[in-house]
């Protein structure tokens, strides 16, 4: 099946199949006031999703349930509640191995329970889209947003995008399927949002019409065989490398790991085409920059306003894709900065570590402020952190 040839035809729900570019940039949009969970429903409605498997956990339960409504309405081919997140992600794997476009969503402890599957998805080149609504994972129990779990997904081989707003979330969901499924990428993607702040608050969202949908997934564009016995099988190998020789095992594993990571890097061109750059910049000629992702950026913008009132000029770099990490873009955007603040919704400061690892003169990077376990990040906390550091370095930096 050539999915391009389906463009302009209608699916069984009467939705017209359109190119992703049309869906994202050209289709007329109407304004709706909706929660992030409702955004999931509207995104999936327009995404030609074949299979979705669900398990409840706060704050994603509502989103997973709304996808169930879509199934009853006939927009999703198959849907059920699995027995736990590890099983759900395994069920998603089976569905994807069989050639379906697969969506699921999870959160916090659910993400960790599912974890073993993520590197397996990536290694098996399964372009599953998982929405991660981040929340605390540690004890004592918390259901509040915390991006610690994103830090734990970093090295699974998956693409990771982090949306700041409901609008961006919608666009990331739609673009995410397309980028993840490109034959030169074809790896899973985690589209992350900050739980509650995006999932549960209402926001203005510009929606494309409900009677159009993305081109469906074509399993035969996969770089690895689809497990449906439609292409001739073969006895794959005489000696399973896992047992035969350490050298063969090493060579196979190492080259495959590199290939999965290279696939992640190759996603850049498609990502730039569909969601703009990997980062967004505002006033990056300033000496002081705030660099972060998700709603920490929104709070950073408030802090910038407060600081401007005091005559301190601060710029912002928003990171949209955590994997691939925008190395070169960040180096360019921060080349004039004397101080780089990285506010984060987690205790570990993994984002600051990522940034420190790739920038020259990385003593410029201040890991903080941090909030964890669900506090909002009051802009005043960011302002305070910036002023504290400035006070200590008065001579060096002129706000």
């Amino acid at each position: 099946m050539d999915t391009k040839s389906l463009v302009g035809t209608y699916n069984k729900k009467g939705q017209k199949i359109v190119e992703p570019e049309y869906m994202l940039f050209e289709a007329p949009r109407t304004q709706e006031f909706m929660t992030g969970s409702e955004v999931v429903k509207e995104g999936i409605r327009r995404a030609s999703v074949d299979v979705s498997i669900a398990y409840p956990i706060t704050p994603q339960s509502e989103a997973a349930a709304l996808v169930g409504e879509l199934y009853v309405e006939g927009y999703v081919g198959e849907y059920f509640r699995g027995e736990n997140e590890f099983a759900v992600m395994s069920e998603c794997a089976g569905a994807s191995f069989g050639g379906a476009r697969v969506f699921t969503t999870t959160s916090g402890p659910g993400t960790l329970r599912a974890y073993e599957n993520f590197p397996m998805w990536a290694g098996s080149r399964l372009p599953i889209l998982i929405n991660v609504m981040v929340r605390g994972v540690n004890s004592p129990l918390s259901i509040q947003p915390d991006t610690l779990e994103m830090g734990m997904i970093l090295e699974t081989g998956m693409l990771i995008w982090h949306a700041e707003t409901a609008q961006e979330f919608l666009d990331f969901l739609l673009a995410g399927f397309i980028v993840a499924e490109e034959p030169d990428v074809h790896i899973p993607i985690a589209v992350c949002i900050d739980g509650f702040f995006v999932s549960h608050t209402k926001d203005m969202v510009m929606l494309p019409p409900a009677d159009i949908t993305l081109t469906p997934y074509d399993p035969y564009r996969s770089p690895v065989p689809c497990m449906d016995m439609e292409v001739p099988p073969i006895r794959m190998m005489r000696d399973p490398f896992v047992m035969k020789s350490n050298y063969i095992s090493y060579a196979t594993h190492a080259s495959w790991q590199q290939e999965v990571r290279a696939a992640c890097e190759r996603s850049r061109k498609h990502t730039i085409r569909l969601i703009g750059g990997l980062i967004e910049e505002e006033r990056t000629d300033a000496d002081i920059l705030i660099v972060s992702s998700g709603t920490a950026v929104a709070q950073g913008r408030e802090a910038v306003r407060l600081l401007a009132d005091e005559g301190i000029r601060v710029g912002i770099v928003k990171i949209k894709t955590i994997r691939p990490f925008p190395h070169e873009e960040l180096r360019q955007a921060t080349k004039n900065a004397k101080l780089i603040f990285v506010p984060e919704f987690n205790v570990a400061g993994w984002m600051a570590r990522e940034i420190k690892a790739i920038l020259p003169d990385n003593e410029r990077v201040i890991a903080g402020p941090h909030v964890c376990g669900g506090m909002t990040m009051p802009p005043e906390v960011i302002v305070k952190e910036i002023k504290k550091v400035l006070a200590g370095r008065k001579e060096a930096v002129h706000g």
Partner: protein, 296 residues
């Protein structure tokens, strides 16, 4: 059925295994069965199990008895069996340890969605650790959900691949690694649990009698295709861990299948499945009769 073809210009550069697969395959052959093991090696030729391991012959029987290999996808799990799957010439998935019934659930539903007018069989084949211990919830839940595929457990009564640790299917009192004072509880009665959990065809046996294995495999796959989940438990002793020689596997199985023994033949068939299997049998007999009449 369309046979697989190789473009003439490429024929001589294809690996010999592949040429053979194309020329000799029994894909599409009705009434394939265990007797094809000696001649049809296209589905499995070599294996990397220990010499004499009963899993190797069990594997061959299973593959030779698939009613529809050209449209069957298998799902495995980590364990000794995962060393065999790379040699198997039908699509097979190894994802993780214990999640095989979950993977198969997603797979079967997707294949049903994508190929509504075609039979696509899904068969799970995994060890007892994967089926009964780490994966037990996923095994059972797939049965509760009435997923339409067959689960086959190679019961060697221990975790062989990691060197002989205690398994839920190990017999009580057996001293195994991680059961240093002997296993404390009885062999988990999975066939009974399978029946009560909604399996429509359940069989437990050794692989010492190929006719019986063949019949069970065919029944299980046909019932799963038409009605709902099915389960087969095959005793495939780990000769290495129980200290037997490579020629002793067959005898070990025979010794364990007599009346009152651990692997006395068991079969449960739901009423629905019984009706269906009777129809299948009647059809097959009528076909044979017609064939004989035509020849006479």
């Amino acid at each position: 059925m369309d046979k697989i073809k190789i473009n003439d210009e490429f024929f001589d550069i294809m690996p010999p295994e592949y040429q053979e697969l194309v020329e000799e395959a029994t894909y599409g052959k009705e009434d394939r069965g265990w007797k094809d093991v000696g001649v049809a090696k296209e589905l499995i030729e070599e294996h990397s199990l220990c010499a004499g391991c009963p899993e190797s012959i069990a594997f061959r029987y299973v593959l030779a008895c698939l009613p529809n290999p050209q449209d069957t996808v298998m799902v495995g799990s980590t364990g000794c069996t995962s060393l065999v799957f790379p040699h198997v010439a039908i699509h097979n998935i190894h994802s993780l340890f214990g999640n095989q019934n979950a993977v198969a659930s997603g797979l079967k539903r997707t294949l049903a969605l994508r190929f509504p007018d075609k039979v696509k069989d899904v068969v799970v084949l995994a060890g007892d650790g994967a089926t009964v211990d780490i994966g037990l919830d996923m095994t059972l839940q797939s049965w509760f959900r009435q997923e339409k595929f067959t689960t086959i457990c190679f019961d060697n009564e221990l975790y062989a691949n990691t060197g002989g640790q205690e398994s839920g299917l190990m017999q009580k009192g057996f001293v195994g690694k991680m059961a240093p004072a002997g296993k404390k509880f009885d062999k988990v009665p999975l066939p009974e649990i399978a029946r009560d959990s909604g399996c429509h065809y359940v069989a437990m046996m050794t692989v010492s009698k190929p006719n019986r294995v063949e019949k069970a495999i065919r029944n299980a796959i046909l019932v799963a295709r038409e009605i709902g989940p099915t389960y087969i438990q095959l005793y495939t002793p780990c000769i290495l861990e129980i200290g037997k020689q490579m020629m002793e596997g067959l005898q070990e199985m025979r010794d364990s299948e007599g009346p009152g023994k651990r692997f006395e033949f068991k079969e449960y068939i739901s009423d629905e499945a019984k009706v269906f299997l009777d129809e299948v049998d009647a059809e097959r007999k009528a076909k044979k009769k017609a064939l004989r009449a035509a020849r006479a």
